[in-house]
């Protein structure tokens, strides 16, 4: 967002930490005291964006709640890599029930806390895009509609990675997955499908909806902190690149998230009670091609022949986001 506490502190303005800032203004992730909600020893792949996003988000939520936090977790990579018997990586009270019921489980936790008078303890539900936008969508919508006191965080890596990279309703067009193969005349996932859950969440007119990515930890933390300062149903959708599923280098995870936002393919914005209140403008606009080229799931757009037509379609999606969410300052348009 445009909250820039570091205007004159150019030395690493966008870094995780900034020694020139006062302690209070530093990111949670830069502090020695950060809680490492998702601790070392988890079994996520090298360079896992979801592991990163989850620690960013939960650490921030823990700081915002003075560690009085309970998490419900959907089935998925995050659950599997963090809690294989006999070890868990979580440092907070955490429950995994099923793939599609996480929002409801969180509702139950919140209800129990309320009835028990433990109102200082707050609830976060978290799941991947499959558990959120597909199988868990009914429970999610119910939780939104009742305005239950839950922050739901979706870690979106744009496919079912846990089961071996199958297409979800968050998979972008043209992307290759195991169930949207890069074969035929229109290789990869089809155009004209997919579900924009942040916008659907907004249609519930819940108090807070935001998108974020692992490329901007300060923005992410600001949003989680803001969400935890509110009550009622809240939703944060975080883009977390997956080296395995995207066919990208493990060290490119943060960079890919950055390119997704800087190209306009993944708009970063905030909304309250159904209305967009802010958006994170693009700093250094890049063509979608820069983003696509680094991922094997889009390799068929470049080899054996360059599919300028498909790339243009994806660019048009990015351009539409830029117009729709106002991602570029006026003079840059």
């Amino acid at each position: 967002m445009r909250t820039s506490h570091v205007k004159f502190y150019q030395t690493g303005t966008f870094t995780v930490g900034n020694r020139l800032l006062s302690e209070a203004e530093r990111s949670v992730q830069s502090t020695l005291e950060r809680t490492n909600a998702l601790n070392s020893g988890h079994r996520a792949c090298q360079g896992c964006g979801e592991a990163l996003g989850a620690r960013y988000a939960i650490d921030a939520a823990m700081r915002a709640t003075d560690n009085q936090l309970i998490a419900a977790n959907a089935t998925g990579c995050l659950e599997v890599f963090s809690t294989p018997y006999p070890q868990t990586s979580w440092q907070i009270p955490w429950i995994h029930s099923l793939f599609g019921n996480t929002a409801a489980v969180a509702t139950g936790v919140a209800a129990a806390l309320r009835v028990k008078g433990r109102t200082q303890t707050r609830v976060v539900a978290q799941g991947g895009d499959g558990g959120t936008t597909d199988i868990g969508f009914g429970c999610l919508s119910g939780m939104f509609e009742r305005n239950d006191d839950v922050l739901y965080i979706c870690y979106d890596n744009e496919a079912y990675m846990n089961t071996g990279v199958q297409r979800s309703s968050a998979t972008p067009p043209a992307a290759r997955t195991a169930t949207s193969q890069a074969v035929g005349s229109e290789p990869g996932n089809v155009f004209g499908q997919g579900k924009n859950v942040p916008l659907i969440a907004m249609a519930h007119e819940i108090p807070y909806v935001a998108t974020a990515s692992v490329a901007d930890v300060r923005d992410l933390e600001t949003k989680v902190t803001k969400a935890m300062s509110m009550h009622g149903a809240r939703y944060i959708h975080i883009l977390v690149p997956c080296p395995l599923g995207w066919g990208a280098a493990p060290h490119d995870t943060v960079n890919l998230a950055r390119l997704a936002t800087e190209s306009g393919l993944f708009p970063v914005f905030e909304a309250e009670h159904g209305e967009i209140t802010d958006r994170r403008t693009i700093r250094r606009k890049v063509p979608v091609e820069d983003y696509l080229r680094r991922q094997k799931r889009f390799a068929h757009l470049f080899k054996p022949e360059l599919r300028t037509d498909v790339i243009a379609q994806l660019q048009a999606m990015a351009d539409r986001n830029i117009r729709r969410f106002g991602l570029l300052d006026k003079e840059e348009l």
Binding site: Y9, T11, G12, T13, R19, S30, S82, Q87, Q91, V254
Partner: protein, 541 residues
């Protein structure tokens, strides 16, 4: 069965799972040489002093700076700052205004009355330094700070050498020289003004010096043969500038022709304007972009009304005119005569064709080698004579104040080793922190601050300093534009982006350590490190 078996687990237990075994490559913290440091002729640790300045710790910054160069206020005015040319930030937006921050620190030292650390242990050794120019001052400072007794012999009545007698006041106010010199004197360095050394060895023996540093400036202007009707009107630039320091200012007339394309030519041309010349024309045989003078000085001169006539050589000088021949550049960029001539009005012609060092004092020093007008020294600035070292203009290479300071420092280190009976070996250098190693996303867009410039009327009529200094806020801003290329500035990005919490933060000033028990070797820290201070390397077998 306190908790349900297997289904319910105690928190944080995954610490028992050492995922470091997954790794085939490992990240390693490194320090790379930032291009500013790499190019500084004085060997300043620029990035380090900017680091302190970024936090507003100006005295700490100044102390780091003066560890290598005692003349901060002078450098901040006359250094041609090759560091800025090399600065990686120049590839992002504009280079960091290092020189401006240096000047701010130098001036701040004077304003705040900061002194160099007093010498605590006297070595008992004595070193004579010949010349109080930048090389001599630098050598004296470094030798004194190592506890040696130092005496500077200066032929002129005032200290500073070419700083004073070669650089116009509007670029370097004399008070600045005085205070930087005084700070060195205050360390216990003895300065003997007006003492020209005739016989080095004799002096050393007489006064019991254990070693000697020669730092004599190039104070003799090179002459070119120009058929002249009236030889009086042809002077040389060094002479003009030297004369400016005396009581009798040079009389150059209304129309002054300066012949040459170096910085000295510019200095004289601008001095001439200030002395009242209506026309001050630089005649140069090649084109403007081929001039050795620094571009910004040429620009400043043009702003002040100095005119440039390039692709021209002076072939004759008469009482009121000169004759120039038009030149053209050949394929190799060398000027060739065309046979076309024209005349220009001229009251005087100042030759600025380079300078030589007066090497007379070396005549009686056996073992010293002089080739093409310069003293031959080794890497430690040692001459062939045991205990005699030399630096600055005398030893060749680029003749700038900063180079001279660097010579003085290096020679002082070698002399110190010599006095201890050992041979000085310079430390090895880190690999260069090139631009491609940076992740510049993390630096916000911040254009360079502009130093205030004196208004044009006063620049044409007075010798007031043309370029002003930055105020504190601007200096801070400028320091903070530094990207800390190649060296960790504790931005916490590696600590943040590690999906495995395998970076251990050691606390302020202590940087970080990898926890190889958990590091899976994904390389995210390497890719995201803004300043290129992490390297990925193959896991050892």
């Amino acid at each position: 069965m306190r908790k349900p078996f297997a289904v319910t687990l105690d928190v944080g237990s995954s610490l028992a799972n050492l995922t470091g075994s997954w790794r085939s490559e490992r990240p390693v913290y490194v320090d790379r040489l930032p291009p500013c440091n790499a190019t500084c002729p004085a060997g300043e640790n620029i990035q380090q002093w900017l680091f302190h300045a970024e936090e507003g710790h100006y005295e700490a910054a100044w102390r780091v700076l003066t560890r290598d160069n005692p003349l901060a206020a002078i450098m901040g005015r006359v250094c041609y700052h090759p560091c800025e040319g090399a600065c990686n930030r120049g590839q992002l937006d504009e280079s960091v205004g290092i020189n401006a921050v240096e000047r701010f620190l130098g001036d701040e030292a004077t304003r705040q009355g900061w002194c160099f650390d007093p010498v605590t242990t006297e070595s008992g050794k004595r070193v004579m330094v010949v010349g109080s120019g930048p090389a001599g001052l630098s050598a004296a400072y470094h030798l004194r700070s190592k506890g040696h007794g130092v005496v500077i012999f200066e032929a002129e009545p005032l200290a500073g050498g070419m700083l004073r007698y070669g650089i116009p006041q509007y670029r370097l106010p004399r008070a600045v020289i005085d205070s930087d010199v005084q700070r060195i004197i205050d360390m216990g360095v003895e300065l003997r003004l007006g003492q020209r050394i005739e016989d080095i060895q004799a002096t050393m023996q007489q006064e019991g010096f254990d070693a000697c540093f020669l730092g004599v400036g190039s104070q003799i202007g090179k002459r070119a043969y120009i058929p002249a009707g009236d030889a009086r009107k042809i002077t040389d630039a060094v002479g003009v500038l030297h004369q400016m320091e005396g009581e009798h200012k040079p009389l150059l007339g209304r129309r002054v022709i300066v012949y040459g394309g170096g910085n000295t030519a510019i200095d004289v041309a601008r001095t001439a304007r200030r002395l009242g010349a209506e026309e001050s024309v630089i005649v140069y045989r090649r084109t403007r972009d081929k001039m050795p003078a620094h571009s910004h000085e040429v620009s400043e001169a043009l702003e002040e009304g100095v005119k440039l006539k390039w692709l021209s050589t002076i072939t004759a000088a008469d009482e009121e005119t000169i004759t120039v021949e038009k030149m053209e550049l050949d394929d190799d960029g060398f000027p060739q005569p065309t046979g076309e001539f024209e005349t220009m009005p001229a009251d005087s012609v100042v030759l600025a064709l380079g300078q030589d060092v007066d090497l007379d004092l070396l005549n009686r020093l056996p073992g010293l080698t002089i080739e093409r007008g310069v003293v031959q020294v080794d890497a430690n600035r040692a001459t062939g004579v045991p205990g005699v070292f030399a630096g600055g203009d005398m030893v060749g290479g680029e003749r700038t104040v900063t180079v001279a300071v660097g010579h003085g420092k290096r020679a002082a280190r070698a002399i110190d080793a010599y006095l201890q009976g050992v041979h000085h070996k310079p430390a090895g250098k880190h690999e260069l922190a090139t631009f491609d190693r940076l992740n510049t996303w993390y630096y916000s867009d911040a254009p360079k601050s502009i130093r205030p410039v004196l208004d044009i009327i006063r620049r044409q009529s007075t010798f007031d300093e043309v370029v002003g200094g930055l105020d504190e806020a601007n200096a801070l801003y400028e320091a903070r534009r530094c990207m800390s290329c190649g060296n960790c500035f504790e931005c916490d990005t590696c600590y943040g982006v590690c999906p495995d919490n395998a970076v251990i933060k050691l606390g302020p000033g202590k940087r970080f350590r990898f926890n190889y028990d958990y590091c899976k070797g994904c390389g995210l820290c390497v890719a995201e490190c803004p300043c290129g201070a992490i390297r990925i390397e193959a896991e050892p077998d």
